[in-house]
C-alpha cells in the first residue's frame, strides 16, 4: 500500500500528492442544503455539480439534489449569463424550491460572470429567493466555500431593519455533521435557550426512509428565520474557519455581537461553549448536561490507560482538528502531527498555542499540507494512531495503525450522520472509538498467553 511513498522527504513546491482538502463549491453546496426548501445551484460545467453531488451522496448515503448551469464551450466564450437565467427559470418551474443558492466555480470565476447582475436581470417568481456566493475553487478549500455560503445567507437574507430583540441566539455550527448540529440544538434546548441555527442540515441529509421521497425534507433553517437573524441577542459562531465570516457579517449589518468559539469537540471546547452560553444568557448550567459531563469525566478516569501516552497523527479541517488536538491532550495522548490542507495562518497559531500550553515541544503541524507529507513524517517517526477522514485509510493500512474516522468525508463507514462527536455525549463516543480501536488491534495481534478477558 502506497509503496511509492519514500521515507526520504523531497521538497515539493508545485505537486500536491494526496490532498487534505477539496474545493470551495462542495462546501457551499453543503451549507446551502441547510436552508429549508433550498436547491443549491452550481454555476459552471455540469461536471462540478455532478462531482459534488456524488461526493456528498457517498458521505451521507442520502439524496443530494442540486442543479447546474451546464456550461458548454460557447458559454465560456460568451459568458454564462444566459445559462444561469435559463437555469433559474427552469429550476423554479420544475423543482419549485423556495430558495436557490447559487455558487460559482473556477470556470465562472475565471470568465468573470457577475452573479449579482445576472440574478437582478432574471425574473424570479414572487415569494421566491435567490442568494449567491462566490466560491472560486482556486482559493481556500471546501471549508472556505462553506463559510462563504453561510455568510451569503446573512448578506442576502437578513432584514437590516432591526426591530426588536427576538430573545434568541444565532448559532452557526460550522462545517460539521447533521448529527452534530442536532446535538448542539439539543444542548441549547436543555439550557432553555432559544436559538436559530444556520445552516442546519439535520433532517435534510440524514432524512428518514418513510417510503416517500421528499425533495425538500423537513429540516433546515427557514428564510423567515434567516431574515430575523438581525434581531438575535448574540451570535455563537463555532469554528473560526467556517463560521466567523457569517458572524462578523451579522455583527456588521445588524449589530449582533459575534462570539467565535471552537467547535465543541472534547471536554474543554464543550465547557468553553457552555461557559459562553451562561455568560451571555445569565442562566445556570443545565443539570442534565452537567450529569453528562460527569459521565464523560468518569469514563476519562476509568479507561485512561487504554490510550494514555499514545502518539497520534491528526488531519482534516481546521475547525475539527483544532479542538480534537486539544481533546487528545486532555486524554493524555500526544498529538505528534497535526495537518490540514486548508491554508491559513490562524490554524498554525491555534495549534501552536494548544501545544505550548500543554508543554508539548516536538510535534509538527502545518496548514496547506498534503497527506503524502504527513505519511512521510510518520515513516520517519511513527505514531500509534491516525485520526482523520476516509482518505487516511491508505496510510493506516500502509503503517498498520488504527484510523479513527473523523471529519469530511467518510465514504467507507456509517454513523457520522447519525451520531454526534460534539458535546459531552460526542466526546464519550470519540473515547469509545479510540479505546476500542487500540484494544481491537491488541486483541487481534497479541500472543495467546497475553489474550485477556477483562481489559
Amino acid at each position: 500500500m502506497l509503496n511509492e511513498t519514500t521515507k526520504e522527504i523531497k521538497d515539493r513546491s508545485a505537486l500536491v500528492v494526496n490532498p487534505a482538502k477539496t474545493c470551495q463549491p462542495i462546501g457551499a453546496m453543503y451549507a446551502a442544503l441547510g436552508i429549508h426548501k433550498c436547491l443549491p445551484h452550481s454555476h459552471g460545467s455540469q461536471g462540478c455539480c455532478s462531482f459534488h453531488r456524488m461526493h456528498l451522496a457517498r458521505h451521507y448515503r442520502d439524496p443530494i439534489a442540486a442543479s447546474t448551469s451546464s456550461f458548454t464551450e460557447g458559454a465560456c466564450v460568451f459568458g454564462g449569463k444566459s445559462n444561469l437565467k435559463t437555469g433559474l427559470e427552469n429550476v423554479f418551474a420544475i423543482y419549485k424550491p423556495d430558495v436557490v443558492a447559487v455558487n460559482t466555480t473556477c470556470l465562472s470565476e475565471t470568465i468573470g460572470d457577475d452573479l449579482n447582475d445576472i440574478i437582478l436581470s432574471t425574473k424570479i417568481p414572487e415569494g421566491k429567493t435567490v442568494i449567491y456566493a462566490n466560491t472560486p475553487s482556486y482559493q481556500g478549500s471546501h471549508v472556505t466555500g462553506f463559510s462563504n455560503m453561510t455568510k451569503a445567507m446573512v448578506t442576502h437574507l437578513v432584514n437590516k431593519n432591526k426591530l426588536i430583540g427576538n430573545g434568541r441566539l444565532a448559532v452557526i455550527p460550522g462545517y460539521v455533521e447533521p448529527s452534530d448540529m442536532a446535538e448542539i440544538k439539543r444542548m441549547f434546548a436543555m439550557m432553555n435557550v432559544p436559538i436559530t441555527m444556520f445552516p442546519d442540515t439535520s433532517g435534510v441529509v440524514n432524512s428518514p426512509n418513510t417510503g416517500k421521497y421528499e425533495m425538500y425534507p423537513e429540516g433546515g433553517v427557514t428564510v423567515e428565520e434567516l431574515s430575523d437573524l438581525g434581531n438575535c441577542e448574540s451570535t455563537i459562531a463555532l469554528g473560526s474557519f467556517s463560521s466567523e465570516a457569517a458572524a462578523f457579517e451579522l455583527e456588521k449589518i445588524a449589530d449582533v455581537e459575534a462570539n467565535v468559539l471552537n467547535v465543541p469537540i472534547g471536554i474543554k471546547a464543550t465547557d468553553d461553549m457552555m461557559m459562553k452560553v451562561m455568560e451571555i444568557t445569565g442562566l445556570e448550567m443545565s443539570k442534565e448536561l452537567e450529569f453528562e459531563r460527569g459521565q464523560l469525566v468518569d469514563l476519562m478516569t476509568d479507561i485512561h490507560f487504554h490510550y494514555h501516552g499514545k502518539k497520534v497523527a491528526i488531519f482534516g479541517d481546521p475547525d475539527i482538528i483544532i479542538p480534537m488536538t486539544e481533546f487528545v491532550i486532555s486524554l493524555g495522548m500526544i498529538p505528534k502531527y497535526i495537518l490540514t490542507g486548508t491554508p491559513g495562518n490562524a490554524f498554525e497559531k491555534a495549534i501552536g498555542k494548544i501545544l505550548a500550553d500543554a508543554g508539548i515541544e516536538d510535534s509538527k503541524f502545518k496548514a496547506g499540507g498534503d497527506l503524502m507529507e504527513l505519511h512521510q513524517w510518520m515513516k520517519n517517526d511513527p505514531v500509534d494512531m491516525l485520526i482523520g477522514n476516509t482518505y487516511g485509510k491508505y496510510i493506516s493500512r500502509a503503517e498498520d495503525i488504527p484510523l479513527i474516522r473523523l471529519g469530511f468525508p467518510i465514504l467507507d463507514r456509517v454513523g457520522h450522520s447519525l451520531f454526534p462527536v460534539v458535546g459531552y455525549k460526542g466526546a464519550m463516543r470519540l473515547i469509545e472509538k479510540i479505546s476500542t480501536a487500540f484494544l481491537d488491534k491488541y486483541d487481534r495481534e497479541c500472543d495467546d498467553d497475553d489474550f485477556e478477558l477483562v481489559m
Binding site: L2, N3, E4, T6, K10, R12, A14, L15, V16, V17, N18, P19, K21, T22, C23, P25, I26, H41, S45, Q46, G47, C48, S50, F51, M54, H55, A57, R58, P63, T68, S69, S70, F71, T72, E73, G74, A75, C76, T86, G87, E89, N90, A93, I94, Y95, C106, L107, P136, S137, Y138, Q139, S141, N209, T210, G211, Y213, M215, G341, Y391, Y394
Partner: protein, 538 residues
C-alpha cells in the same frame, strides 16, 4: 399493462414549453419492433438536474485514470483531482517490477496567482517533482476548466518534459466545458492514446502468442476484467491489452500486436477500434461479457472468428464447465427474482449489457437509457452516417488515421472476414433498442424529475443507476443498485460475476428492511381497551 404513452405525456406536461420540446426527442416508447429515432449526445438544458458529468471526468476519471503505472497529474484547482481519487473502482495489479499509482492523487492545486499569471511554470515544476519523487513509466496531464480559459499550453510543457526526462508525458485538453458529457472526454483520451501510444512497441514475431486479444472499453470495475480474462485464458487466449482497466502503459503501446479487438463499452471506444483496423488491419468484434448467454455467445463468436478446431472445442468445454458450476446458484436466485421488473440508467453500454443478465434471473427491463450515449448506441451503427454533428461535437478533435504500411497486417483473409461479418458482430453493433421489449421506454439523459416520475408510475423492483439517484429511489421504497461501482461488490462480468450480481440483486430486493418502511401503527388499527379478566388470568 401501463399505458406508456400516457405516462410519457404526463412527464412532459410538467415542463416549460422549451424544455418539453427538447426532452420529447429524448424519450421513445417502443411500441413495435421498429427502431425509432432518439435524440442523444446533445446539451443538457441549464437548470435540469442531470446525472451527467464532464469531459474531464470521462478523460481522466474513466479512460486515463485506470492506467496503473503512470502518474496522473491533474492541472487545475484541487477539486477535480480529488473527486476522481479512488472513486471509480478501476482495480489494477502492477506486474512484477512495475509501480502502482492507483491509490494516489496528484494535482497542481492551482491558486489565484496561477490563474492570473498562468500555470505553465507550476505544471512544469510539478512534472519535475513527479519524476524526481516517483520516477514513473509515464505521466499524464489532464486539464481542468480554467486551464483552457487562461491559455496554459499544456502540450508544450508536456513536450519539453518528455525531452528533458526521457519518458512519455501525455497531455489531455479535457476541460470540463468541452462537449456535452463525459463522452467528449473519452474521445479526447482515446484519440491521444491512438496517436501517441498504441503502436509504439512492437512484439517480436518469436515472442508473439497465438490467439491474442485486446479488450477495449473494459475498465476492470470491481475486477470484471480479471474474471473475463480468467475464462479467456482457460480457453487458450492471450489477453494482450485491456483499455484501460488493469493496464500498464506498455500494454497499451503494444495493443496493435494482437489478433482481434473485442469492444465491450461501445460508446467509449468504438472509434478507436475502427482506427486500429484502418491503421493496423485488426478487425473488431462487439462483445458482451455480462450474463450467461451473452458470455457464452461472445466466447463462441470469438472462437468462430479464429476458426481453430481445438479452440472451438475448448470453448464448448469451458462453457459447459462454467455453466454447470453456477447453474444451481442462478436457479436459486432466479426463483427469488422471477417476475420482477427492472430499470437501467447507466453508462454508454451497461444499460444494454445487463438486460440479458436480468432476464436470466427472470426480470424484465421496462425502461432503459444512457447518461452519455450517442444515437448509434441506441439505434445501432447503421445510423452513424445520418447523425448530425452539432457545434459541441465539432469542438472535439476528430482524428483520422492511415494505413501503417510497415505494421499493417491482415489478420484473416479479406474474403473470409466478409463471410464472417454475415454471422458475427464484426465491426457492428445493433444498439440497445433492438433488444428492448415491446411497450418498454427508452430515455436519454434521464433526469432527477423524470426518475422520480417513472419510479412512482411503474414501481419497478430494481433501479440500476448511480449514487446520485440511488438514495432518492430507495427513499421511495425501491431497491436501487449503483451500476457504476456495483455498490462496492463485483465482479459482475462472466459466469462467476453473474452469480455475484444475482446474489446481490436478490439480497437488495429481499432485504427485510423494506418490510419496515411503514411502521406497524400506520398499517394496523390500534386496539384501545382492556380485555376483561386478563389480569386475573396472569
Amino acid at each position: 399493462m401501463k399505458d406508456m404513452n400516457k405516462l410519457v405525456d404526463k412527464i412532459l406536461d410538467a415542463y416549460p414549453a422549451k424544455v418539453m420540446k427538447n426532452r420529447k426527442e429524448h424519450i421513445v416508447h417502443k411500441e413495435s419492433d421498429e427502431i425509432s429515432v432518439i435524440n442523444a449526445n446533445t446539451r443538457t438544458i441549464p437548470g435540469i438536474i442531470t446525472n451527467r458529468g464532464c469531459a474531464y471526468a470521462g478523460c481522466k476519471g474513466v479512460v486515463i485514470g485506470p492506467i496503473i503505472d503512470m502518474v496522473h497529474i491533474v492541472h487545475g484547482p484541487v477539486g477535480c483531482s480529488y473527486y476522481a481519487w479512488g472513486t471509480r473502482r478501476n482495480k489494477g495489479r502492477a506486474k512484477e517490477g512495475s509501480k502502482n499509482f492507483l491509490n494516489y492523487c496528484f494535482t497542481t492545486d492551482m491558486q489565484e496567482s496561477d490563474i492570473v499569471f498562468g500555470g505553465d511554470k507550476k505544471l512544469a515544476q510539478a512534472i519535475k517533482e513527479a519524476v524526481e519523487t516517483f520516477n514513473p513509466r509515464a505521466i499524464s496531464v489532464s486539464a481542468t476548466c480554467p486551464v483552457g480559459l487562461i491559455g496554459d499550453d499544456i502540450h508544450m510543457v508536456a513536450k519539453q518534459a518528455e525531452k528533458e526526462y526521457g519518458i512519455p508525458v501525455l497531455a489531455f485538453s479535457c476541460e470540463g466545458y468541452k462537449g456535452v458529457s463525459q463522452s467528449a472526454g473519452h474521445h479526447i483520451a482515446n484519440n491521444k492514446l491512438m496517436k501517441d501510444v498504441i503502436g509504439t512497441i512492437d512484439i517480436p514475431e518469436e515472442d508473439k502468442k497465438p490467439f491474442s486479444l485486446n479488450i477495449l472499453g473494459e475498465y476492470n470495475i470491481g475486477g470484471d476484467e480479471w474474471e473475463i480474462s480468467r475464462v479467456l485464458n482457460k480457453i487458450g487466449y492471450n489477453v494482450l491489452t485491456t483499455m484501460t482497466g488493469n493496464a500498464e502503459y506498455e500494454d497499451i503501446a503494444k495493443a496493435h500486436n494482437a489478433d482481434l479487438n473485442l469492444v465491450q463499452c461501445h460508446r467509449s471506444i468504438n472509434y478507436i477500434a475502427d482506427m486500429i483496423e484502418i491503421k493496423y488491419g485488426m478487425p473488431w468484434m462487439k462483445v458482451n461479457f455480462i450474463g450467461m448467454e451473452n458470455m457464452s455467445n461472445t466466447l463462441r463468436n470469438i472462437a468462430t472468428y479464429f476458426g481453430d478446431a481445438d479452440l472451438i472445442s475448448r470453448t464448448e468445454q469451458v462453457i459447459g464447465q462454467e455453466m454447470s458450476e453456477i447453474k444451481d446458484d442462478m436457479a436459486y436466485y432466479k426463483n427469488m427474482c422471477d417476475g420482477k421488473t427492472a430499470m437501467l440508467f447507466v453508462g454508454g453500454s451497461r444499460a444494454h449489457h445487463y438486460q440479458g443478465l436480468l432476464g436470466e434471473i427472470g426480470m424484465d427491463t421496462i425502461l432503459a437509457g444512457y447518461e452519455f450515449g450517442h444515437r448509434d448506441d441506441y439505434e445501432g451503427r447503421d445510423v452513424i452516417p445520418y447523425i448530425k454533428l452539432d457545434a459541441d461535437t465539432r469542438n472535439i478533435e476528430e482524428i483520422t488515421v492511415e494505413k501503417d504500411e510497415k505494421k499493417y497486417r491482415l489478420r484473416i483473409p479479406a474474403e473470409r472476414l466478409e463471410e464472417l461479418k454475415k454471422v458475427l458482430p464484426l465491426n457492428n453493433y445493433a444498439g440497445l433498442m433492438a433488444d428492448m421489449k415491446e411497450n418498454s421506454v427508452v430515455i436519454d439523459d434521464l433526469n432527477h424529475y423524470e426518475t422520480e416520475a417513472v419510479i412512482k408510475a411503474l414501481k419497478p423492483s430494481f433501479f440500476g443507476s448511480g449514487v446520485k439517484d440511488k438514495y432518492m429511489v430507495q427513499k421511495m421504497g425501491i431497491y436501487s443498485k449503483q451500476m457504476h461501482s456495483y455498490d462496492y461488490s463485483g465482479p459482475y462480468a462472466g459466469y462467476k460475476g453473474a452469480v455475484n450480481f444475482a446474489r446481490d440483486t436478490a439480497a437488495g430486493i429481499h432485504t427485510p428492511a423494506w418490510s419496515y418502511t411503514i411502521p406497524p401503527w400506520k398499517k394496523e388499527p390500534m386496539l384501545v381497551g382492556k380485555v376483561e379478566g386478563a389480569e386475573e388470568a396472569c
